[in-house]
């Protein structure tokens, strides 16, 4: 007798009165949930459903609904349904648990425990629709000294920098983890918005080279697709040391996802695993990091700013202080709630620290050491809306990276099944018929709408505080107050309590 340890997590409900038997749900579901029985009657296999809502969203008569399966184990505070089923899963396969997107565990979200200030009486607030409001952001090393030549003229000694119309960038998502159409939408939107997107570590598809001025190209431990033309193609180069969702471990794109185009872009054979080692084996110290920074600067004739991306972990401020001395122009810090195409569940759920605390600690440390202006700080890993951005900038960030929010704008429904490669929304998949579902032009428009709306919101909140330039908000922690935080948390965040 076969025993099934796994009850389906969701139930697919079909309203028989509404259903017109069209069968669109069958073609739309790549997970093969919907099918017809021998008599042609529509059925649903609940156990295959990942709750991505594609069938619900495409059903022309709203006949479908997906609900949580109410089946339950005997209640136990220590042993949740997930704990129990994961043990079944590992007992059956002997495998490491693999999951996608950011951690779903209930850790404190500090963004939601921080409140923003507004002007009343003593300092007039500003209406951004009627008065100038500056969100233009420059990332890179800021020279503090002015040099004069023999004639007393100022020597223009500019270090390379990035210019953004608004302090938001699309964070690294590789071609492989997401589809080419998703990359196209991000690239086109970045150009329209005059910001940058990051192509991630899988190389840059040849059709996207024309967007180079709005592209950050990434060099990770696998060095996939890295060659001189690639290094020259972007506006900046990011060395990926770590990722918030999986600090301390490498990456693995399975051979099944390496199709012809990805193979060409990553410069590895089709169907071949792409493994990124956990560390860069040429970097075991800050001095070694400096060496790679310098290699990339030499290779691009000192014309591109170099970003070093690390995951937020314990002692992050010391790490960032070291990186600031490695010659990097920009440091990107990725918080532990950041997303991923696939990461071991236990690492995703337990390793790293919240970006809010990491950011505050790093900004403070760099200020104390007098080197805050020698680098820009970009933070990512759980930025959900414009208020998170205001709080991040007031805590000391120069700009933010968004990944998950951008994918949601493209249609992602957060079902967290990216690693399976059957994304019904055409985002985290390489199956051609699925990728085609994501229209890059439409995606571009949705991304432009999102970032434009956020920028208006940023301006409104800044105006409310009586601040008319993003520069004046950066590190302005007096604009923030904590709520429901203990004294130590307030100290690390460097903010006062609400009411103070």
């Amino acid at each position: 007798m076969k025993v099934n340890y796994f009850q389906s997590e969701y139930e697919v409900l079909r309203d028989k009165d509404r259903c017109i038997d069209c069968g669109i749900c069958i073609t739309e579901c790549a997970n093969e949930v919907h099918l017809r029985d021998k008599k042609g009657k529509l059925l649903a296999i609940d156990s295959k459903c990942v709750n991505c809502h594609r069938c619900v969203a495409t059903c022309p008569v709203n006949a479908l609904k997906i609900v949580k399966n109410e089946y339950c184990f005997r209640e136990n505070y220590s042993w949740s349904r997930h704990d129990i089923t994961n043990i079944y899963r590992q007992a059956e396969t002997g495998g490491v648990l693999l999951a996608s997107m950011g951690t779903a565990k209930e850790y404190p979200i500090y963004w939601d425990k921080i409140l923003i200030n507004a002007s009343q009486v003593t300092n007039p607030s500003i209406d951004p629709l009627r008065e100038p409001m500056e969100t233009r952001t420059f990332l890179g090393k800021k020279n503090n000294e002015i040099e004069f030549d023999n004639d007393g003229e100022i020597v223009i000694n500019e270090t390379p920098f990035i210019e953004l119309a608004t302090p938001i960038m699309f964070s690294a998502m590789s071609y492989g983890s997401i589809s080419l159409n998703a990359h196209k939408a991000l690239a086109m939107a970045a150009k329209d918005l005059d910001i940058l997107y990051n192509c991630g570590e899988g190389g840059l598809h040849e059709s996207l080279y024309p967007y180079g001025d709005h592209t950050i190209i990434q060099v990770a431990s696998g060095r996939f697709g890295v060659h001189s033309g690639y290094l020259e193609s972007g506006a900046a180069i990011e060395i990926k040391i770590g990722q918030g969702a999986k600090p301390g471990i490498g990456g693995h794109l399975t051979g099944a996802k390496i199709n012809k185009e990805i193979s060409k872009t990553r410069m590895i054979p089709e169907g071949f695993d792409a493994i990124s080692p956990a560390p860069h084996h040429d970097i075991y110290s800050i001095e070694d990091l400096r060496q790679l920074v310098d290699v990339l600067k030499e290779a691009t004739d000192y014309k591109k700013p170099i970003i070093v991306k690390v995951a937020a972990v314990h002692n992050i401020s010391s790490i960032v202080s070291g990186i600031a001395r490695s010659g990097a122009d920009i440091i990107a810090i990725d918080g532990f709630r950041g997303g991923t195409g696939a990461a071991p569940l236990r690492i995703k759920d337990n390793v790293g620290i919240p970006i809010e605390l990491a950011l505050a600690a790093c900004d403070q440390r760099l200020r104390e050491e007098g080197i805050r202006d020698s680098v820009s700080l970009v933070v990512g890993g759980s930025i959900r809306h414009s208020a998170d951005i205001i709080k991040a900038i007031a805590l000391g960030a120069d700009a933010v990276y968004i990944g998950t929010s951008a994918l949601i704008a493209l249609g992602c429904h957060m079902c967290r099944a990216c690693s399976m490669g059957n994304c019904n929304w055409g985002i985290a998949t390489q199956r051609e018929e699925l990728v085609e579902r994501l229209n890059p032009e439409l995606g571009r428009e949705r991304l432009v709408n999102l970032i434009s709306a956020w920028t208006v919101e940023l301006k409104e909140m800044m105006g409310g505080m009586g601040i008319n330039s993003i520069e004046a908000l950066r590190g302005n922690r007096l604009m923030l107050r904590g709520i429901g935080l203990n004294e130590k948390e307030l100290e690390v965040l460097g903010i006062k309590s609400a009411g103070e």
Binding site: N86, R89, Q90, E92, T93, G94, G95, V96, L97, L98, A99, S221, G222, R223, V226, H227, S228, L231, H252, T254, S263, M267, I268, P269, F272, D273, I275, P277, H281, D282, Q291, L292, D294, V295, E298, A299, T300, D301, P344, L345, A417, S419, M420
Partner: protein, 242 residues
């Protein structure tokens, strides 16, 4: 032929001189640890006397040949794409890290992590030959290309340190040796190289030996082992999706 005396030159000045030099053949003398020589260079030959510093020929491109008449330091040919680096001496650690094409030829010995994560793509088949021996972790994560360690002063003893080829998932490692490394990973297949396998490297090994005047290597008589990825894919069963 352009001669540059590298004495007292900072690496930035030296590399700028090389980059903007119109002559395609540059000879450097008195090189003393300057880093990044020939970084991302394309279509130029560089001849070096002295000791070049770390990351010699990093991101090297096609049509370039860098010849070193002495030893070189760490990270030689890091992420190189094509071209040749010839060292008439020893190499430090991590030479050929992530190289995707071209050749690195080292007459004597190399340090730790030689040929780490080399990978191949179509016509780009990177090759590293080391005349004598290498340290630990040689060919770790190897994804493609060929590493040959000849042990020409080793009298048939194993010419590699510990953990040779750990995590390799492509490519080949040839060892001229009468014994296999004692700690070989179970995910590596090791066997005595067949005649066909030896034929595939004959031309390269022969020209390596004549280039460096090495006379005691005989492909027909000496024992060569070949290491490759095991048929059992260690990654296949690793994960279970939540």
């Amino acid at each position: 032929m352009k001669y540059i005396d590298a004495k007292d030159l900072h690496y930035k000045e030296l590399n700028k001189l090389i980059r903007y030099e119109e002559d395609t053949h540059v000879t450097l003398t008195n090189v003393m640890g300057q880093r990044f020589i020939g970084c991302a260079l394309e279509g130029k030959n560089i001849d070096i006397t002295g000791i070049p510093g770390n990351a010699l020929g990093a991101c090297l491109n096609g049509g370039s040949i860098i010849t070193v008449h002495n030893n070189c330091q760490d990270a030689t040919g890091d992420t190189m794409d094509d071209g040749e680096i010839i060292v008439h001496g020893n190499s430090g650690d991590t030479a050929g890290y992530a190289m995707r094409g071209g050749k690195i030829l080292i007459k004597e010995s190399g340090g730790y992590r030689m040929g780490l994560h080399m990978k191949a793509y179509n016509e780009r088949q990177p090759l590293m030959i080391v005349g004598n021996r290498v340290g630990s972790f040689c060919g770790e994560y190897l994804a493609g290309g060929t590493i040959i360690v000849l042990g020409y002063r080793e009298n048939g003893n194993c010419p590699v340190g510990n953990f040779c080829g750990t995590g390799m998932y492509g490519g080949r490692i040839f060892l001229r040796s009468n014994e296999l490394p004692k700690d070989l990973s179970p995910y590596i297949d090791a066997s005595v190289a067949t005649i066909e396998e030896l034929e595939s490297i004959r031309e390269e090994v022969t020209s390596f030996c004549s280039l460096f005047d090495i006379t005691n290597i005989d492909l027909d008589k000496d024992n060569f082992y070949i290491l490759s990825q095991s048929k059992v894919n260690e990654y296949k069963k690793k994960y279970t999706t939540v």
